[in-house]
Structure formats: structure tokens, C-alpha cells
């Protein structure tokens, strides 16, 4: 389904980044990898593992990667004990608490399955949904996102902000995913090889995947359970962060094709403001305030706007230079979804 990788083979940095590929290829490759970031979930690890075991009892081969994100409780000890007894379970321990995005990326880098499923470590997702996600993926998608039906969370602090955020993210990115906050998702290996997550991008995976990797995306409803053990690790405070991240994602989307335009639009707006105030200055001089130093206000404002326009244009050129240098290297991996004709 995906065309052979070109170009990238020659880029040494690409090899550096995917050195883990060799690690992945070692040993037998399971069909399915389940990646679960865990952070201070000592009470949840055991039930989680047995739930995954039950859910995948009929699957031919699978592995479960528990990515410990710098837990300070007994999470790692419990996980490693389980891994000792079941070879299908692997534990990755991060050096400190990096956050969910980095933990997921660590899981992706070390997962060996042709299909990778992510989910939360707090048992609010139901592993029983995994086979349905995988089945849907095999109908011809690169990413299947779950959305939580009858979500079991507090209304004021979780559900309403989440509803607003999802609408906004859908609007801005043009990828109308119902539930960006749901971790239960299934990915094709080929997509993950081209997806590089950092900072807090895990909330925008569908948008980033669609914009930068041309992913075919769909969503299905999944179950959602109330939290039994441990505390929720999120709060309302992230609203500002999400807004800024959304701006980042939008920029990444827009800038890939036409970097100069993005800044050019801003420059044009500033220019128009400058012209408007220049006209106002002319009118003011001609009619009423042509005497004093204070009459420099309109010309001054006009010049400020022109200064901003100039500055934005220069930044646009910087962006253009950075992207023109870098993007062709990564273009080589654009997937060819279908090929018709030929010998």
C-alpha cells in the first residue's frame, strides 16, 4: 500500500532517528502491538494486563508495551514482575516524567507489530474494543480513532471543555474528529514511521497525521468506564496550552505548502492598517490638526503598521528558506495509495 521509501535512505539523520528499527526487527514480529503509557498507576497495571490478555485471547500474536513515564510509585516493579512471567509483555522505563506524547513516541519506536494500538493506562478505555479498531483499520485506513460514547467523567471540568476543544480543533485543522482526547486509537506501522511526535502533540495526532503523512482516518465509538483507582492527571489549566498548540498545528499544516503566504497574509493585513492610517493622516493634516507635534500620531501609527508588515515578510522568507531546505528530504516518503495501469 505504501510506496517504497526513497530519498530518506541517504539522509544520515533519518537513520539516527530510526535506529530503534533494528531493535524492533530483532526477534519474531507480532501482528499487533498495544502501547500503554503509564504514570503512577500501580493499582491499575495488573487489571489492565489481564483485561488486555482477555481481549486478545483470540488474536494470533500480540505484544503489550507498558511505557513507564517516570512513575514515583511501584508501577515499574509491578509491570516488570508481570513482564517476567509473560514474554508478550515488555516494559519501557523512561528516565524521567516526560509527558504522554514522549511516552507514546517511545512506545511507537519500540513497537514491532504491523498494527499499533494505543490506550490509557487508567482502565477507562476498554481493551475489548481493540479487535474492533483493528478490524476497521484493515478495511483500508491508516488511523482509526475511538470516540468515547457515554463518557464517564465530570461534566463541568472535563466534558464541556472537551466538547468545546474538539469543535475548535475540528474547525481550525479541518479534521473533524469527535474526541481528540481519547487515547484509544489504532495505527498502521507505515504511518507511525512517518509520524514524529514531540512536545504535547498527542492531542492532535489525527490532524498532524493527516496534514504531514496523508493518513486516511476514520473513527468508531468505544466504551468508557469511570476511573476506579488513582487520580486523574489533568486539569482545566491546560486550556491556554491547548490553544497555543492548536496554533502550532495549524502553522505546521499551512506552512508545508506555502510558507511565505502564511506570513504574507499577516503582512498584507498590517499593510492595509498602515494605509488606512496614512489616509487618516492626510485627511487630518488637510482638515484639522495641522499645527502641533501631536499631529504626528496618525503618521506614527501608520509607520508602525508598515514596520510590522516588513517584519512579517522577512520572517516569511526565513520560514521559506528553512522549509525549502528540509521538506524535500521528507517528501520522498509520501505514500502512494493506489497505482493504476502500467506494465
Amino acid at each position: 500500500m505504501f510506496a517504497a521509501v526513497t530519498g530518506q535512505d541517504r539522509d544520515p539523520r533519518f537513520h539516527a532517528a530510526t535506529a530503534s528499527r533494528a531493535e524492533r526487527d530483532a526477534g519474531a514480529r507480532p501482528a499487533l502491538s498495544v502501547v500503554v503509557p503509564v504514570y503512577n498507576e500501580e493499582e491499575n497495571v495488573r487489571p489492565l494486563v489481564s483485561a488486555v490478555r482477555d481481549a486478545l485471547a483470540h488474536t494470533e500474536s500480540w505484544e503489550l508495551l507498558l511505557v513507564d513515564d517516570g512513575s514515583t510509585d511501584a508501577t515499574v516493579a509491578v509491570a516488570e514482575e508481570l513482564a517476567e512471567r509473560d514474554r508478550r509483555i515488555r516494559v519501557l522505563k523512561l528516565a524521567r516524567n516526560y509527558g504522554q506524547t514522549a511516552a507514546m513516541q517511545a512506545g511507537f519506536d519500540h513497537a514491532r507489530g504491523a498494527v499499533v494500538v494505543t490506550m490509557d493506562g487508567d482502565l477507562q478505555n476498554d481493551p475489548a474494543d481493540i479487535p474492533r479498531l483493528v478490524a476497521r483499520l484493515e478495511e483500508g485506513f491508516d488511523l482509526v480513532a475511538g470516540y468515547r460514547e457515554r463518557r464517564q467523567d465530570k461534566v463541568i471540568t472535563r466534558k464541556i471543555p472537551s466538547w468545546v476543544a474538539n469543535r475548535l480543533i475540528g474547525r481550525v485543522t479541518g479534521i473533524p474528529i469527535r474526541d481528540n482526547g481519547c487515547s484509544l486509537k489504532a495505527y498502521r506501522r507505515e504511518l507511525l514511521d512517518r509520524l514524529h511526535l514531540y512536545a504535547d502533540l498527542h492531542r492532535f495526532i489525527p490532524a498532524v497525521a493527516a496534514a504531514t503523512a496523508g493518513a486516511r482516518i476514520t473513527e468508531i465509538p468505544v466504551r468508557h468506564h469511570p476511573r476506579l483507582h488513582g487520580r486523574s492527571k489533568y486539569g482545566l489549566s491546560r486550556t491556554v496550552k491547548v490553544m497555543l498548540d492548536l496554533m502550532t498545528v495549524k502553522t505546521i499544516q499551512e506552512v508545508r505548502e506555502r510558507p511565505l503566504q502564511l506570513f504574507g497574509v499577516g503582512a498584507l493585513g498590517a499593510c492595509l492598517c498602515g494605509i488606512a492610517f496614512a489616509i487618516a493622516a492626510v485627511i487630518a493634516y488637510a482638515s484639522f490638526v495641522a499645527r502641533k507635534a501631536q499631529s504626528l500620531v496618525f503618521p506614527g501609527v501608520s509607520l508602525l503598521w508598515f514596520g510590522l508588515a516588513f517584519y512579517l515578510l522577512m520572517l516569511g522568507l526565513i520560514a521559506e528558506a528553512a522549509l525549502r531546505e528540509e521538506l524535500p528530504r521528507r517528501r520522498g516518503t509520501m505514500p502512494v495509495v493506489r497505482e493504476v495501469g502500467g506494465p
Binding site: A17, E80, Y198, A280, Q294, V297, L304
Partner: protein
């Protein structure tokens, strides 16, 4: 290995006869950068306790071009059979680069960084090395008890209080420069140039275990130091740089966006006030307040636009860097890198 070519000098060649045989237990790296004291005296004083404890060791003097002439006596030591090597790097690129270059050439798995001037009593090295051998990644010497003047201590207190706030680290003497660490850690740390002072903070950010151990301050280190205003300004800039590097390297828009939004809000408030007054019939053509409002908006847009450029750069580099470091994996041995 470390980006800057290292010229293995005459002395190193002289010492190469013994290199390659049994590895030593500790490599002491002396970056020769500022106000060096007699390097041979330094060597004699600090090698004595190591020798007394029966440890095998080597001293590496890493020099920038300007310091080449200082190495003559050290080369004589090497000729006389002392375990001393001199590394002359090809160009000046800051203390961290020197340290990394030397680490690349060190033969021991445990390295000690020792400034080219005496800061702590020589016996302290043994404790530092032991702690690393017991499993710590980096062990810092803290000059304590201090025999400095109160003015030095006050300066140090203030600097560390500031750093503590910025980096969330409880350290007391990062300027000391006497540290023991695993060689691998020094090579892997993403530090460069003049950031050597803050090396422990970057190590903590990478999830390494960093310890502080008290070491009596050396008599030669006791002097009142008051610097010119330029130095203090530079320290403040260092801390600002640190603040950004430690928290926002992979999300610049969080930093610039927050500043920019502040400006934008201020500007919007000013312009709104003016707008209401204008609708109320008051003229605004002679109000410099309008200039302020527009200036704030312009600054806000500029900060945000810069943040977006930063995000583009980070995005472009994403494929070539891993956003995490693994402490270990089950069953598989921990990865080498």
C-alpha cells in the same frame, strides 16, 4: 565524536606507549580555560590522594589554542612517565566542548572534571568517585564548609535561589566545577559551548541522577570576588537562556505566545478604550495613547510570529531527535545510545 577535531599532541603520543593496555579506573579531565594555576602543582596535589588510595588514574589536560604554551611542563611530566596526557583542541569552542573532547579520549569509564585552579581539598575526589561507582550518574562537589567572605556567599546564594526557581533544582554550588560522572553521561549530554556551568541542570532534565557531596573549600579558593557589572549582566542572560532551554526548547510558542498574548491583550485594552471614547465623540488624532496601543499590538504579533518560526524549526528537526531517554527496558539490555 564531539564535533571539534582533537589534535592528539606530542605528549599524548609520548603517552600512547602505555595507552591500550590495562584501562585506568578514573580519568581526571582538566579543561585549561581561565586563570590557570601551575598545572604541574595542580597535578601533584590532586594525584596524591588517588595514588595513596591505590587507584589507577590518568590526567587529561585539555587546552584551547591560546593555552598550548602552558603545557610544556606537563609534557615533561609525561616524558618522565607520569600518567598525564595533553589534548590540544583545534579551535576555541567553550568549556563544554573541551570536556566532551577529553571524554571522548578518556580511557576510564569514570571521569572527574577538575578546573585548572584549586577549588576543593584534593581528598574530596575520592568520595566523588566512590559515589559514581556506587551508581550515581553525576556527583557534584559542593564547597562546604566555605571559608569565603560573606559577600561571595551572598552572591552564590542569590544565584542559586534564582536557578532553583528557574530549573526546579536544589543545588548549592554549580559554579564549583569539580564533578565526577560516568564518561557515557558526559558524552551523551546535549550541552555545548559555555553552558558547562549548568551541565548538572541539563543532566537532571535528561533524567540522570545528580548528587551533591560536601567538600572542604581549598585555601587557595578563599578570596573576595566582586566582579564588574558586565559579569552580573551576563549571568542574568545565562539564567534567561537556561529558562528557555530547559523548558521551551521543544515548544517555543508556549514561551513567545505567552509574551505575545500579554502584549496583544494590553494593546487591545488601550485600543478599545480609545474606540469607546471616539464613539463618544472625542477626537483621537492628537492622542499619543493611540501610538502606545498600536505599538503593543505590533509587539504582540511580532512575538507570536517569532514563536511560530521557532515551531517550524522544531517541527523540521523532529525526525532526527528522540523526545525521551530510556532508563531501561525489560528483558532487552538497556540501549547503548
Amino acid at each position: 565524536m564531539s564535533g571539534v577535531g582533537v589534535e592528539v599532541s606530542r605528549a599524548a603520543v609520548a603517552a600512547s606507549a602505555e595507552r591500550g593496555d590495562s584501562p585506568v579506573s578514573v580519568s581526571v579531565i582538566v579543561p585549561v580555560i581561565e586563570r590557570p594555576e601551575s598545572l604541574t602543582d595542580l597535578y601533584r596535589e590532586f594525584s596524591a590522594p588517588l595514588r595513596a588510595a591505590g587507584r589507577s588514574f590518568e590526567f587529561l589536560f585539555a587546552c584551547e589554542p591560546w593555552a598550548y604554551p602552558l603545557t610544556g611542563p606537563v609534557i615533561d611530566l609525561a616524558r618522565a612517565g607520569e600518567p598525564v596526557r595533553v589534548l590540544e583542541v583545534a579551535l576555541s569552542a567553550g568549556e563544554t566542548t573541551l570536556l566532551k573532547a577529553a571524554a571522548a579520549h578518556a580511557r576510564a569509564e569514570v571521569v572527574v572534571t577538575l578546573p585548572a585552579y584549586r577549588r576543593v581539598e584534593a581528598e574530596a575526589l575520592l568520595t566523588l568517585i566512590e559515589r559514581v561507582e556506587q551508581g550515581a550518574d553525576i556527583v557534584l562537589a559542593r564547597r562546604w564548609p566555605r571559608r569565603d567572605s560573606w559577600i561571595n556567599r551572598l552572591q552564590s546564594r542569590l544565584l542559586h535561589a534564582l536557578i532553583g526557581r528557574v530549573a526546579g533544582a536544589e543545588l548549592h554550588d554549580i559554579a564549583c566545577g569539580v564533578r565526577a560522572m560516568r564518561r557515557r553521561v558526559l558524552l551523551d549530554l546535549p550541552v555545548y559551548g559555555d553552558l558547562a556551568r549548568f551541565l548538572p541542570l541539563f543532566a537532571m532534565r535528561e533524567g540522570y541522577e545528580v548528587l551533591e557531596v560536601n567538600a572542604p573549600q581549598h585555601g587557595a579558593d578563599v578570596q573576595t570576588r566582586i566582579y564588574g557589572p558586565g559579569i552580573y549582566l551576563r549571568r542574568l542572560l545565562d539564567v534567561l537562556g537556561l529558562f528557555f532551554l530547559l523548558r521551551f526548547t521543544d515548544k517555543p510558542l508556549r514561551f513567545f505566545g505567552l509574551i505575545g498574548s500579554g502584549f496583544l491583550l494590553g494593546g487591545a485594552a488601550v485600543l478599545l478604550t480609545l474606540f469607546i471614547q471616539r464613539v463618544g465623540g472625542q477626537g483621537i488624532a492628537d492622542r499619543p495613547f493611540l501610538l502606545l496601543g498600536v505599538l503593543l499590538v505590533v509587539l504582540g504579533v511580532q512575538a507570536i510570529a517569532l514563536g511560530l518560526i521557532g515551531e517550524i524549526v522544531v517541527y523540521l528537526h523532529a525526525p532526527s531527535r528522540r523526545p525521551y531517554r530510556l532508563a531501561r527496558t525489560s528483558r532487552n539490555p538497556p540501549p547503548e545510545r
